[in-house]
Each structure stands twice: as structure tokens, then as C-alpha cells.
């Protein structure tokens, strides 16, 4: 018998002007001990399904039609109080971000005990005992010790284990996991997924996993439901849906997932997803401002040479040097970036990849080592004019498209700012023309310049960031996780755009990512970082086919296997 049955579920969000249908006539069900994945891109309504089941729809959203059954008992029409008694007791929930889903002011124990005692008639002492057992069962060492600690004393992966323990407190029959591993590193993700799968089987719990990540779907789900704009477009066994997708949306979604196994020239982009931003008007680079006067001094050999780069941050300050504590973010790192190549840096969070980017651009000053850019030693530059000249040659694209653009400026002014600052154009009319062309070239169209950043989606904003980076006519582009906040289909478009621009303009790129598949598609050579040290540098294919360093091998093993995914019959555009 199915634990969860959703029949013809429709969820509506009325607004002043119209009614937004977030979930439209969706059916799905989960059996005990099985995992159902709900996959889709942002705005597909997948989280709304989860919230509707647990009865936590954000106001003014409400269930407009359909029925939800838990073990054959209808639960969507229960009163507020009855729904509250289901939450935690019959239905557990796991949230995306383990760093924010625990109350920072309460010990893990007190949060566990209050949840246990809310649902089960246990004494404080028994509840404590049960809490320790739970913490032990989710694989946290020294449960008696750790349980007395506060959430901030746990790492991200450990906190997610605590969250799972909290969700399992009262032996629920159904667990809803909303993007349970999105905020975690690959190695932690693999552990958490394994733990979830194990608990699901051991305790015979039905699990609903909501995710945008095909890797997660392929790894742990038995069935999968693909959602698109509130509709359920495909539903079936995971092997069936991923191996032989029937619906064109599923096909395009799968094709957009970067392949870790083979390097392809371009990412397949299927227009089904979002109107791909094709340049409305191509600029002839050879005659246009953007392509002209790239009169940088010519260098033979590598463009960037990094030698023994060191960076440490003061963790605890003191007037006595012996009392100070440091965190060594980058340790003796050396590598070269050849002209015109894309050099990839891959590693988990905290490995020092972003610190390297910031050291090269001069946002941090290194505590040791040298950075040679062309013929100039960046660490010894003091003259403001020289510094500016160097900064003009290198530009950066940041990870978060929402906070990296000034929300109070029009897009046109955002892009014009670097041109005016570096005095790269002679008149305001010329600046205006350049900005329009740049916007056209990155696929947004000149009229986008009138708008403010909040009027754009994440992918469009990242295009604005790219246009802004190009506005100084740089020769070196640093991309720090440029697509990790984007949906796969949008990611494919942005990465294609970056590839095109690199070819047209002969850019040299430093590409930082935690995603091995993306790195494989984008980079010529790759450096693997761990705890501030560079473990291995080698050619892209060499690294993936014959990894030398044990850590590289470990990372490659942890990649979710995407062998299930059908790659057949998909044309690359």
C-alpha cells in the first residue's frame, strides 16, 4: 500500500491581479521504503508539492483542488491543529540549508528532546536517551558529547545529519527532503545521500526527495516525477525516465546536464527550456571597439605565473605575536596559466580556490610568494596608476548573480561604469553605443539597459555580469563559480556564451568551480585544490582518465554516476 498518494493536486497563489497556479493537476505516490524524486528547475512547483503535503504552504497559497492521502487517510482537509500533529509525527521534513535550519541558540539536545516530547509520551530522561540514539544512528561520532553542543560547533555535513535526526525523531512514515544536499560539498553529499537511503530502507520510511540535481535523482530515487511550470510532464521508474525520456522537456533537461565522461565542444541547448539568449545583433569583433586596441604588451610564455603563493588570515588577534592564531588559506601554491587557455581550479568549499582568485585580482594582498602577470609582478605594485592599468586587464565574474549587481543602478549605468572609470571611450554617445552593443552581444538586447537588475532572472543577471566584465576590454577573465547558482539549462547557455567570447576575444580564463563535470567541459588544464594546497595540475582529459593524486581519485569516485542518463538522439545546437 502506498504511504503517500497525491491525486489531482492543484495549488494556487492568488495575487492582486491574477491567480498563479504553482502546481497544476499533479498525481504521484510513494511506497514504504522507496524514494520518489521530484525534479525540475526553479519555479517548477516542486517545493510547493512538498509544502502542500506537510501543510506549510506560504500564505496566500492554498490547495485549490485535489486530494492528499497518507496511508489512505485524507490529510489535505484537516484543521490547523490536526495538521500540526501530523508534522514531525507522521511526516518529517529535511530542508536545504543545514546552516540555517537549526536554532542557533539551543543545544542540539534541547531541540531533539523538545521534538521527541512533543510527539511521544516520554519522560525527559527517556527522551534524552532516545536523542543520543538518534544522533548515533545518523553517524555522528561521540553522540553523548556532541549532543550537548550548539549547532555552530558542527560542520555543514554534520548539521545536515542533525537535521535528519530531527526529522526522524518520532518515527515518521514519510520524509520530505527539499534539496537535502544542494548546500553541501560532493564528498559530504555522497555520505548524506547514502545515509538517507540507508535510513529509508532500515526504517521502511517513504521518502519524497525534491531536487534540481539529476545526479541526486540518479543516485537514490526509485521513481521520479519531472515537473515543468507546475505540470507533471513525466512520471515513472527512475531507470525508465532517465534512460529513455519520452517528453521533450525531460530530454532537454537531461541533455543540459554537463557530462563528466566525455568532453564536448558545446553544451547542448534545447530551446524548450527558456528562450536561449541568442545575440540579436552580432558585433564584428575585428572592427568593433570591443575587439580594437587590445594593445597589451606581448608576452612569450604563460600570461600568469604564480609561485609559492601564501595567504593566511588572522583568526585570533593579540598584541603578543605568539598568541595570534592564523588560518592558512593558501599554502605554497604554484602554477602557470598559458595565454588563451582556460585554467580550471576545482576543490571543495574551504579549499582556497576563491582566495586565489581574490589574490590575483588584488582584493587580498598575499602574505608570501609572487604573482607575475605578463611581465609585471603584481605583489610589488604600489603606484595607483599601475594598479589600475593591471586591474583593467583582468575582470571577475562572481558566483551570486543577485548580490553582485548594484540594485539601485540601471543596467546601462552598471556596464558603463568601468568604461567611464578607465576612460576607454571618448564621448558619452560612444559609451552608450558600446553598452548597447555589449548587451546585444551577451544576448540580452540593448533595451535591457533601461531596466534595473531585479527585473532579470539569475541567468540574465549573470549575462549582465559578463557584459560588465567585458566593458574594460580585459585579456584575463576570472570566473568564480559563475553558474553554481543557476539551473542546468541556464548554466549550459552561460557556459556556451563564455566559450564563444573566449574564442572571439582570445581571452585567458581562470575558471573556479566545485563541479567536476562543468570543469571538464570548460577547461584545458585543471588544478585540484585541497586545504589550501594544490594537489595536482594536469591536462583536462589526463586528469579525468588517469588521476595521479589520491585526492583527485577520491573526488572523481564521488561524482554521482550519470550513466543512467540517456544521451542518445540529442542534437547539440
Amino acid at each position: 500500500m502506498n504511504v503517500l498518494d497525491i491525486k489531482d493536486l492543484t495549488v494556487e497563489f492568488p495575487s492582486r491581479k491574477s491567480v498563479f497556479v504553482a502546481v497544476d493537476d499533479v498525481d504521484m505516490s510513494v511506497e514504504a521504503g522507496k524514494v520518489l524524486g521530484v525534479v525540475g528547475e526553479s519555479g517548477a512547483g516542486k517545493s510547493t508539492v512538498g509544502n502542500a503535503v506537510i501543510g506549510l504552504l506560504q500564505e496566500p497559497g492554498h490547495i485549490a483542488g485535489g486530494e492528499i492521502f497518507l496511508h489512505g487517510k485524507r490529510i489535505d482537509n484537516l484543521s490547523y491543529k490536526e495538521k500540526r500533529l501530523l508534522r514531525g509525527r507522521k511526516i518529517g521534513m529535511i530542508f536545504q540549508d543545514p546552516l540555517t535550519s537549526l536554532d542557533p541558540l539551543q543545544t542540539v539536545e534541547s531541540q531533539l528532546v523538545e521534538t521527541i516530547r512533543t510527539h511521544l509520551p516520554l519522560s525527559a530522561k527517556d527522551a534524552q536517551k532516545r536523542a543520543v540514539e538518534l544522533i548515533d544512528s545518523v553517524g555522528i561520532p561521540d553522540p553523548e558529547e556532541r549532543i550537548k553542543q550548539y549547532p555552530h560547533q558542527f560542520s555543514g555535513g554534520m548539521r545536515q545529519r542533525v537535521v535528519i535526526a530531527l526529522a526522524l525523531c518520532a518515527e515518521p512514515e514519510l520524509v520530505i527532503a527539499d534539496e537535502p544536499t544542494t548546500a553541501l560539498d560532493v564528498s559530504i553529499q555522497a555520505q548524506i545521500l547514502e545515509l538517507m537511503k540507508k535510513l529509508c530502507e532500515e526504517r521502511n520510511v517513504a521518502m519524497l526527495v525534491i531536487t534540481h540535481d539529476m545526479g541526486v535523482i540518479a543516485d537514490i530515487t526509485d521513481h521520479v516525477a519531472v515537473m515543468y511550470h507546475g505540470d507533471l510532464v513525466e512520471y515513472g521508474e527512475t531507470t525508465q525516465v532517465l534512460g529513455a525520456p519520452k517528453h521533450p522537456y525531460t530530454q532537454s533537461l537531461i541533455s543540459a546536464v554537463p557530462r563528466p565522461d566525455v568532453k564536448v565542444d558545446r553544451f547542448p541547448v534545447v530551446n524548450y527550456i527558456e528562450k536561449a539568449g541568442t545575440p540579436q545583433k552580432h558585433i564584428d569583433i575585428s572592427t568593433h571597439w570591443l575587439g580594437k586596441s587590445r594593445d597589451y604588451e606581448q608576452v612569450a610564455g604563460p600570461l600568469v605565473q604564480i609561485r609559492d603563493l601564501d595567504m593566511r588570515f588572522e583568526v585570533r588577534g593579540s598584541i603578543f605575536p605568539s598568541q595570534r592564531k592564523y588560518f592558512q588559506a593558501v599554502k605554497k601554491v604554484s602554477f602557470d596559466i598559458e595565454q588563451g587557455e582556460t585554467f580550471g581550479v576545482v576543490g571543495e568549499s574551504g579549499s582556497g580556490k576563491s582566495t586565489i582568485a581574490r589574490l590575483i585580482t588584488g582584493l587580498y594582498h598575499p602574505t608570501g610568494g609572487s604573482i607575475l602577470f605578463g611581465k609585471t609582478e603584481l605583489t610589488s605594485l604600489t603606484n595607483r596608476k599601475d594598479v589600475l592599468a593591471m586591474r583593467r586587464q583582468m575582470q571577475m565574474i562572481f558566483q551570486d548573480p543577485f548580490s553582485s549587481l548594484n540594485a539601485r543602478m540601471r543596467v546601462r549605468d552598471i556596464i558603463a561604469e568601468p568604461i567611464k572609470f578607465h576612460k576607454l571611450a571618448s564621448s558619452n554617445a560612444e559609451v552608450r553605443q558600446i553598452v548597447d552593443d555589449l548587451l546585444d552581444h551577451v544576448g540580452l538586447g540593448a533595451q535591457a539597459g533601461q531596466k534595473f537588475p531585479h527585473e532579470f532572472s539569475g541567468g540574465q543577471r549573470q549575462r549582465i555580469s559578463i557584459a560588465r566584465a567585458l566593458a574594460t576590454r580585459p585579456r584575463f577573465l576570472i570566473c568564480d563559480e559563475p553558474t553554481s547558482a543557476l539551473d542546468v539549462s541556464i548554466q549550459a547557455q552561460i557556459l556556451n556564451l563564455l566559450k564563444d567570447l573566449q574564442q572571439e576575444l582570445g581571452l585567458t580564463m581562470l575558471f573556479i568551480s566545485h563541479d567536476l563535470a562543468v570543469i571538464r567541459q570548460m577547461c584545458n588544464r585543471i588544478g585540484v585544490m585541497r586545504n589550501g594546497e594544490l594537489c595536482e595540475v594536469s591536462d583536462c582529459d589526463e586528469l579525468f582518465e588517469h588521476p595521479k593524486h589520491p585526492y583527485t581519485r577520491e573526488l572523481l569516485d564521488l561524482m554521482p554516476s550519470l550513466e543512467l542518463l540517456s544521451r542518445a538522439n540529442l542534437e547539440t545546437v
Binding site: 518529517g92 535550519s101 521534538t115 512533543t118
Partner: protein, 324 residues
């Protein structure tokens, strides 16, 4: 923790020294202290003798050191107008001000916090909107106006409560007088404490409301609900506690403000506290009282700030225990 407290203590001392320097400068250089003390008929020789006796001919650093040493022992010299030691004058006035401030702070907290919680949790309810409108009045009307309004309504028209003074007081110990123990003393407290505390009450209410709205949106509150915890636990154990850090900061500072700047309320209600004395001292250029008041106010703020910093440690475990 101990290291942190020591550091804060050293900083507090530096602040106090700077304020002492200001007070000393005022005392020594705003007019000639001798001229203020003696009459016109005093001869130049007598003045010189007095100057020598008071140590005003010593080098400035020595004088400052003496000033600080004396101040640390609560010796602020002699008032020009009353010819009495300043510390004695303050001792007589402090109980009145402290009792008034304590009552109004209590009023602000006891009324403001529940109103803030309610308005934060029931954002759309008519009662919350009513609270917000009322709080606007509390913030926008000046203190003296509210005081006069209250006197007009409750003392003049209705004749329920006294319009000035402390009522009957009871002597406790050698110098503390209290109005808490007599009916007339308690009655006399009502109007001034409402007047003084109204602004702080609205401020605390609005602050709690804003913080509650912020915290209610966080993931850990959503997760607490998803675990099926009853609303009482979610709202009070999880949400309220997380709003407290900024609230304590502001409340602490406001408490300092209530004590130090009760001047206007004390004037309106003719309340025999420090503020009233300070006002009279300003009118009569009674420098010793003014510099002592300055030091006392600064001390209050520094002390309250110190206590607030220590309180953070008890509320926020992230400050208490280091990261792994």
C-alpha cells in the same frame, strides 16, 4: 570570557578617563573657580591663599590626577550655590531619580515586549495596527507635551493623581528615601513614569515587532514548525529568544538614557531628582555639580554597556564557545 571582560573593562576605564578629562577641563578652565567661590570683597591676597590651598597653582597633570583620585572616592568638591559637598547633594537626589527611572523602565518593558510580540506574530490584525498607530504618537510627541497633557487630564480635570513632587517618602538606611512604600508616593510615581517611559516603550515595541517579523521568516522557525512543535514553543522558545540580542542592546542604552536624561520629566513634574538639580546648576553656573553630573552620566552608560556585553554571552552560545 574573562579575557573579553577584562578587555571591555580596560576600554571602559579609558572612556571614563576621557570623560574625566572633559569634566576637569570644564571645572578648571570655564571661568576662574576662585571667582565663583568667593565674594567681590575678597582681597587679592586672600584669593592667592585660597588658590594655593586648593592646589590650583600646581602643574595641570598633578591637578588632573588629584581630580581623578578624588572623583574615584566620590569627592567632587563643594557646590558654589549650596556650599555643600557635591556628593552629599547627589546622595539626596539620586533615590528620587533612580526610583523614577526604574519604574518607567519597568513600564516600558512590561508593556512594550508583549505588545511587540503580539504585533510581530499577528501582523495583519487590527489590534496590531492600533498598537502601531499608538506607538507613532509615543515617538512623535515630545516628552514635556505628554507630561503636561497627562497633568491636565489626570490631575487638573479628573483630580485622580498628584501633579508634582514625590508624595510622602520613607527613609531607609542613612540616605535612601523611597516613595514605594506609601500610597501617595506610588500615586505620585504614575504620571512621571508613564511620561518618561512612553518613548522607550514604543521603541521597544517596534523593535521587537521588527525583529520578530525577521526571525519568523528564517529557516529554523520553518523547520521548527515542520517538526510539529506547538506554536507556543516556536514563538517563545525559538523566535523570541533569537530577537533578544538587538533588543537588549537598545534596551540597555535606553535605560541609560532614562536615568541620565530624566531632566525634562523631572522639570515638568517638579520631581526632586538629579535632573532638576542639574538644570538649576546650569542656570547658576555651578560647575562642580555639572562636572559631577557629567561623570555620573558617563559612568552609568559605561556600566550599562558593560553589563549588556556580558549579557550577550549568556544569550548567544556562538560567543561563549569557540568553533571546533
Amino acid at each position: 570570557m574573562i579575557g573579553f571582560a577584562t578587555r571591555r573593562l580596560i576600554q571602559a576605564m579609558i572612556v571614563m578617563l576621557v570623560v574625566a578629562l572633559l569634566a576637569f577641563t570644564m571645572f578648571r578652565f570655564v571661568g576662574d573657580p576662585i571667582n565663583q567661590m568667593v565674594g567681590i570683597e575678597t582681597s587679592i591676597e586672600e584669593r592667592e591663599a585660597l588658590r594655593e590651598r586648593l592646589g590650583l597653582n600646581d602643574p595641570i597633570p598633578v591637578q588632573f590626577l588629584r581630580f581623578v583620585t578624588n572623583a574615584a572616592q566620590f569627592d567632587f568638591g563643594t557646590s558654589y550655590q549650596f556650599r555643600q559637598p557635591v556628593s552629599e547633594l547627589f546622595a539626596k537626589r539620586i533615590p528620587a531619580t533612580l526610583e523614577l527611572s526604574f519604574t518607567s523602565a519597568l513600564f516600558a518593558l512590561v508593556v512594550g515586549i508583549p505588545m511587540g510580540i503580539y504585533a510581530g506574530l499577528n501582523r495583519e490584525s487590527p489590534v496590531s495596527k492600533f498598537f502601531l498607530s499608538v506607538s507613532l504618537i509615543g515617538i512623535s510627541l515630545p516628552t514635556f507635551f505628554i507630561g503636561i497633557l497627562l497633568i491636565f487630564l489626570f490631575s487638573v480635570t479628573l483630580q485622580w493623581l498628584p501633579s508634582f513632587g514625590r508624595g510622602d517618602t520613607v527613609q531607609i538606611g542613612s540616605w535612601w528615601t523611597t516613595g514605594f512604600l506609601t500610597i501617595s508616593g506610588l500615586k505620585a510615581l504614575i504620571l512621571p513614569s508613564i511620561t518618561l517611559g512612553l518613548y522607550q516603550m514604543t521603541l521597544i515595541m517596534r523593535l521587537i515587532r521588527a525583529e520578530m517579523l525577521e526571525v519568523i521568516r528564517t529557516d529554523y522557525i520553518k523547520f521548527a514548525r515542520a517538526r510539529g512543535l506547538p506554536d507556543r514553543l516556536v514563538n517563545f522558545r525559538h523566535a523570541l529568544k533569537n530577537t533578544l540580542v538587538p533588543v537588549i542592546t537598545i534596551t540597555g542604552l535606553q535605560l541609560g538614557a532614562i536615568i541620565a536624561f530624566a531632566t525634562i520629566t523631572e522639570t515638568v513634574f517638579n520631581w526632586p531628582g538629579m535632573g532638576l538639580m542639574f538644570l538649576q546648576a546650569v542656570q547658576n553656573v555651578d560647575i562642580p555639580i555639572m562636572s559631577a553630573y557629567l561623570l555620573l552620566t558617563a559612568f552609568l552608560f559605561v556600566a550599562i554597556n558593560f553589563i549588556v556585553d556580558i549579557l550577550y554571552f549568556y544569550i548567544d552560545p556562538r560567543l561563549r564557545v569557540g568553533r571546533p
